[in-house]
C-alpha cells in the first residue's frame, strides 16, 4: 500500500459520527424540513380530533334536532360547526366522517402497498416469463371496469364497509405494482445487485435487502398520492349511494350533502371540505418531505 493516508485525511475528522440507522438519519432530515414537519403536526392533530373529538361534544352523530334544522355554528348550543338539513350536529358528523375517510384511505393504501410492492418487485426482479405473466394479470385487472365491478359486488353481497376496502384496495395496487416494477427493472441493472448475486446471496434476500429499501423514496411519494385518491374514490362511491350508509358518513358524503344546501347553509360544505383539503394538502407535503428524508445522498 502506498499512501492511502493523503486521500483519507479529509474524512478523519468526521469519523466519530457514525453508526446511525437509516431511519434515525431520515428523522433528523425530516426535522429540518419545516413544511413537512408542520404537515405532520397538522395531520396528527386531525387524527387526534377524529378519534377523540366526538367525546368533546354533548351531541351524537345520528341524533336529529328537529327544532334546529340547518342552524349556523354557535357556541351556545354547542353545535360548533352548525347542523345539517335534518338537524344533526355537523361537528360530530365531520369528525365521525373523518374516521371513515381516513380508515378507507389508510387500509386501502396499506393493501395496495403490500400487494403492489411485492408483486412489482418480484415481477421486475425475476423477469422473463414470470414478469410477463404477472404483468399481464395486472393488465387484465386494469381492463375490468372498476365501477361496474364495485356495483356488482354491492348487489351480490349487499352494502358492506369491508367490501369497499377490499374493492378499492384490490384496484389501487395495480398502479403501485407497475411503478415498483419499473423502478425494480432499473435497480436490477445496478452493479450492487449483481455484486450481491456474485456473492451468492439468495434472490429473496436481494429483493428484501437491496431492492425494497431503494424503492422507499418513490413508494413514500406514491403512498401520499394514493391516500387522497382513495378518499376521493370513496367520496364518489358515496355520492353514487354505494359507499357508507346513513346515518354513518364520510367526508365525501358530507361534502356532497353540504354542496346541495350551500346557498343558505354554507357551513355544511365548508367544514368537511376544509378537513378534507387540509388532510390531502398535508399528506402531499409530508410525502415530499419523506422522499427527501429517505434519500441517503441528501445531507
Amino acid at each position: 500500500m502506498s499512501t492511502p493516508a493523503s486521500a483519507m485525511s479529509n474524512f478523519d475528522h468526521a469519523a466519530a459520527a457514525s453508526g446511525r440507522s437509516l431511519w434515525h438519519l431520515a428523522w433528523l432530515r425530516l426535522k429540518r424540513n419545516r413544511a413537512a414537519l408542520t404537515a405532520a403536526v397538522v395531520l396528527a392533530v386531525i387524527f387526534l380530533l377524529v378519534i377523540f373529538g366526538p367525546i368533546l361534544s354533548p351531541h351524537s352523530f345520528a341524533h336529529p334536532y328537529w327544532e334546529q334544522i340547518s342552524a349556523p355554528p354557535s357556541l351556545e348550543t354547542r353545535h360548533f360547526f352548525g347542523t345539517d338539513s335534518i338537524g344533526r350536529d355537523l361537528f360530530v358528523r365531520t369528525l365521525h366522517g373523518g374516521r371513515m375517510s381516513l380508515m378507507v384511505g389508510l387500509v386501502a393504501t396499506g393493501v395496495a402497498l403490500l400487494i403492489g410492492v411485492a408483486w412489482g418487485a418480484i415481477a421486475g426482479f425475476v423477469g422473463g416469463r414470470v414478469d410477463n405473466i404477472m404483468m399481464r394479470v395486472v393488465d387484465i385487472l386494469y381492463a375490468l371496469p372498476f365501477m361496474f365491478l364495485v356495483i356488482l359486488l354491492m348487489v351480490v353481497f349487499g352494502r358492506n364497509i369491508l367490501l369497499i376496502f377490499v374493492a378499492i384496495g384490490s384496484y389501487i395496487w395495480l398502479d403501485m405494482a407497475r411503478i415498483v416494477r419499473g423502478q425494480t427493472l432499473s435497480l436490477r441493472q445496478k452493479e450492487f445487485v449483481e455484486a450481491a448475486e456474485a456473492l451468492g446471496v439468495r434472490a429473496w434476500v436481494i429483493i428484501w435487502r437491496h431492492i425494497v429499501p431503494n424503492l422507499l423514496g418513490i413508494v413514500a411519494v406514491y403512498v401520499t398520492l394514493t391516500v387522497p385518491k382513495v378518499i376521493l374514490v370513496e367520496s364518489f362511491l358515496s355520492f353514487l349511494g354505494l359507499g357508507v350508509q346513513e346515518p354513518n358518513t364520510s367526508w365525501g358524503a358530507l361534502v356532497n350533502e353540504g354542496a346541495q344546501d350551500m346557498e343558505f347553509a354554507p357551513w355544511g360544505l365548508f367544514f368537511p371540505a376544509a378537513f378534507l383539503a387540509a388532510t390531502l394538502f398535508c399528506l402531499n407535503f409530508l410525502g415530499d418531505g419523506l422522499r427527501d428524508a429517505l434519500d441517503p445522498k441528501d445531507r
Partner: protein
C-alpha cells in the same frame, strides 16, 4: 488545509504578457475566487486563480476531480448558479470586456456565439427527443438569425467538416442512433457552429475509447488551426494534454500550483503535485514495481517529499516459459454469449447480437490476464459470462477442474464465492442505503454463516484496514466516500469471501489518474499476498500493459490476438492491435 499549497506558490508565469501564441491574450483571468455556500458553510472552489488564454492558442487545465477546473470553465461561461455559488473576487476579461459585469442578455449573446463549450458526457449532453440537425441548427438560428433552410445547409456543412460519415443521413437521426464518438463530433459541430473565438472543452474525451479519443483530438486541432480559435482544454489526464496544449495550468485543491509551456512542464515540473501527476500514469515501458503516486511526492499538507529509492525499483515481468509453469485456473473453450433481438407482436426472436462469439482462453493461477478492446467489443460480456452473471449461450467454462457452465444453482452459488467481480462504476456498485458495515457483513455472512456478529465486525475492520481504509469508516454510507475510496470498499467486499479469482471490469477507468495508480498498486499488493488471479478488463492499453502477464485483444466478440504483455506491445501481429497501440497518447 489549503494554506500551505498556496504558500508554496508556484507562479512560474509572473507576467501574463510572456505567454507565447500571437502575443495577445483573448481571455485574461485575474485573481478569480469562487465560493459555494453549502450547509457545511462556505466552500472555496477556486482561489486566486490567474492565467491567460492567448489568441489562437491552447491552454490545458489539469487537475483531479474537485480541484476547481470545471468551476473555472463554468465561470467563464457565467453558468455558475448564484446562489449557492458566488464569485467573491477577481476579474475575467474576454476580448477586452469584463465578463463578470455583463448583463445576462449580453452574456447570452456571447455564450454559444463567441464562446463554445463541449462537455464530457456525449450521451447526456444531446437532447434525446430532437433530431441532430435541429439541435445544431437551433444555435445557428438563435445567434446568426439564419432561416430554416440556410441553417440546415450550414448544419450539413458543419457535420461534414467534423468528419461524420453520411452527414445527410445523420442530420435527420436521433442521438441514440449515433455512437459515442459520433455524438462527441456532433457536440463539436454544435460548439463550432458560430465559429467561436474560444472553445472550452471539459474532459471531452474521457468517456471515449483511445482510438476515438485520438480522432476527436486530431479533429479539434484541425478545426482550431482552420478557424484560428483559442482552446481551453480541461482534463485530469496529462497524457492527453501533451497531445493538444502548448501551455498548461495545473490546479490542485482550488489553487493553481504550476503553469508553463507543456514541454518544459513535462521535463522539469517544479511542484511536487505535477511531478506526481506525471509519474503516476503507467508508461508503456520502464515502469517501477509499483506505480508512483502523488503521495510519494508530497504530503497531504503540500510539503514536498523525497521519493525513496526503493519505490523506483523497476518492474520485472516473468518470461513466457516461467508463466507457463503455473497451473491453469480458468479454462474457457469456444464461449458464445448471444443476446436475442426480439421483434414483432409476440416477441419472436428475429436476430442475435453476438457479444461474445467463440472465445477460448486459459487463465493461469496467480497471473493477471488483461483483456483490451473498444467499447462494444464484448469484453465486459465475456467477464460477466465467466461468473454466469450473464448466461452464456454455448461453450464451456472450467474453473479449477469444475464445470461452471453446467453447474446447478447450488453449485453455482458455491463456485461464485471463489470467483468475484469488481465493477467499473464506484457509484452504482454499492447499495446507497447500506452502511459499509452492512455491505461487508452481507458478504461475510454468506461466507461463514455460523460466525458471530462480533467476529464478523472484526473481520470487516481487518478488511477495511487491508484495502487502506479504517474501521472508523464502518458506520458510514457510500455517498460519504470519494470514488477511489468506494472502489476500495468494492474490493474489500469481494475479498470478504476469500476468492481465488477476480474479474476487474474497468475497475479503474472511472478514477482520476492519481487515484487509479493507488488502486492498481493495491490490486498488485493483494495479488502478491493472497495469490489472486485476475481477469483485468480495460480499454486503457497502458494500464493493461502495466498490470498484466498475458494480454488478449478483443474485437467484435472475438479474441483477435493473444500473448504475453511484451509480445503484444512490442510485436503486435494484427492490424487491429496496431491501430489500438498507435492511438495511445504518448505524453512527452
Amino acid at each position: 488545509m489549503t494554506a500551505r499549497v498556496q504558500g508554496s506558490g508556484f507562479r512560474v508565469q509572473e507576467d501574463p504578457g510572456q505567454i507565447e501564441g500571437s502575443g495577445q491574450a483573448l481571455v485574461r483571468i485575474d485573481g478569480l475566487t469562487v465560493d459555494f455556500h453549502t450547509e457545511d458553510g462556505r466552500v472555496r472552489a477556486v482561489e486566486d486563480l490567474s492565467f491567460d488564454i492567448p489568441k489562437g492558442g491552447t491552454v490545458g487545465l489539469v487537475g483531479e476531480s474537485g480541484s476547481g477546473k470545471s468551476v473555472t470553465a463554468m465561470t467563464l461561461m457565467r453558468l455558475i448558479p448564484t446562489p449557492p455559488g458566488e464569485i467573491s473576487a477577481g476579474r475575467v476579461e474576454f476580448d477586452g470586456q469584463d465578463l463578470l459585469s455583463l448583463s445576462e442578455s449580453r452574456m447570452r449573446r456571447i455564450r454559444g456565439k463567441r464562446i463554445g463549450m463541449i462537455f464530457q458526457e456525449p450521451m447526456t449532453s444531446l437532447n434525446p427527443v430532437f433530431r441532430i440537425g435541429e439541435q445544431v441548427a437551433e444555435v445557428l438560428r438563435q445567434h446568426e438569425g439564419l432561416s430554416r433552410r440556410a441553417a440546415r445547409d450550414r448544419t450539413l456543412d458543419l457535420l461534414t467538416q467534423v468528419g461524420l460519415p453520411r452527414p445527410k443521413q445523420i442530420i435527420d437521426s436521433y442521438p441514440h442512433q449515433l455512437s459515442g464518438g459520433q455524438k462527441q463530433r456532433v457536440m463539436i459541430a454544435q460548439a463550432m457552429s458560430c465559429e467561436p473565438d474560444l472553445l472550452i472543452a471539459d474532459e471531452p474525451t474521457t468517456a471515449l475509447d483511445v482510438t476515438i479519443q485520438k480522432q476527436v483530438l486530431d479533429l479539434m486541432g484541425e478545426l482550431q488551426a482552420r478557424y484560428g480559435m483559442s482552446l481551453l482544454f480541461i482534463t485530469h489526464d496529462l497524457g492527453v494534454i501533451a497531445e493538444v496544449a502548448s501551455q498548461v495550468v495545473v490546479m490542485y485543491r482550488s489553487h493553481k500550483v504550476e503553469e508553463g509551456p507543456t514541454e518544459a512542464l513535462f521535463q522539469r515540473a517544479e511542484h511536487p503535485y505535477t511531478r506526481g501527476l506525471i509519474a503516476c500514469r503507467p508508461a508503456l515501458e520502464g515502469n517501477p514495481r509499483r506505480l508512483l503516486t502523488v503521495g510519494d511526492f508530497m504530503t497531504a499538507e503540500g510539503e514536498a517529499l523525497e521519493v525513496p529509492s526503493d519505490r523506483l525499483l523497476p518492474q520485472v515481468k516473468r518470461s513466457e516459459a516461467e508463466l507457463d509453469k503455473d497451473k491453469p485456473l480458468v479454462e474457457v473453450t469456444d464461449l458464445k454469449t448471444w443476446y436475442p433481438v426480439t421483434g414483432g407482436l409476440f416477441g419472436k426472436v428475429v436476430d442475435q447480437v453476438r457479444a461474445v462469439d467463440g472465445v477460448s482462453l486459459t487463465i493461469r493461477r496467480g497471473q493477471t490476464f488483461g483483456l483490451v478492446g473498444e467499447s462494444g467489443c464484448g469484453k465486459t460480456t465475456l467477464g460477466r459470462s465467466l461468473l454466469r452473471l450473464t448466461e452464456p449461450t454455448a461453450g464451456q467454462i472450467v474453473f479449477d477442474g469444475e464445470q461452471v457452465t453446467a453447474a446447478d444453482e447450488r453449485a453455482l452459488r458455491r463456485l461464485r464465492k471463489r470467483m468475484q467481480i469488481i465493477f467499473q462504476d464506484p457509484y452504482s456498485s454499492l447499495n446507497p442505503r447500506m452502511t459499509v458495515a452492512d455491505i461487508l457483513l452481507e458478504a461475510l455472512r454468506e461466507f461463514r454463516p455460523k460466525a458471530s456478529r462480533a467476529e464478523h465486525r472484526e473481520t470487516a475492520s481487518a478488511l477495511l484496514d487491508r484495502v487502506g481504509l479504517s474501521a472508523s469508516h464502518l458506520g458510514r454510507y457510500p455517498h460519504e466516500f470519494s470514488g477511489g475510496q468506494r472502489q476500495r470498499i468494492g474490493i474489500a467486499r469481494a475479498l470478504a469471501v476469500q476468492p481465488e479469482f477476480m474479474v476487474c471490469d474497468e475497475s479503474v477507468s472511472a478514477l482520476d489518474v492519481s487515484v487509479q495508480a493507488q488502486i492498481l498498486n493495491l490490486l498488485l499488493d493483494l495479488q502478491e499476498e493472497f495469490g489472486l488471479t485476475y481477469l483485468f478488463i480495460s480499454h486503457d492499453l497502458s494500464v493493461v500493459n502495466f498490470i498484466s502477464d498475458y494480454v488478449g485483444v478483443m474485437n467484435e466478440g472475438k479474441l483477435v490476438e493473444y500473448g504475453t504483455a511484451e509480445q503484444i506491445y512490442t510485436h503486435p501481429q494484427q492490424d487491429y492491435t496496431k491501430k489500438l497501440l498507435a492511438a495511445i497518447p504518448r505524453g512527452l
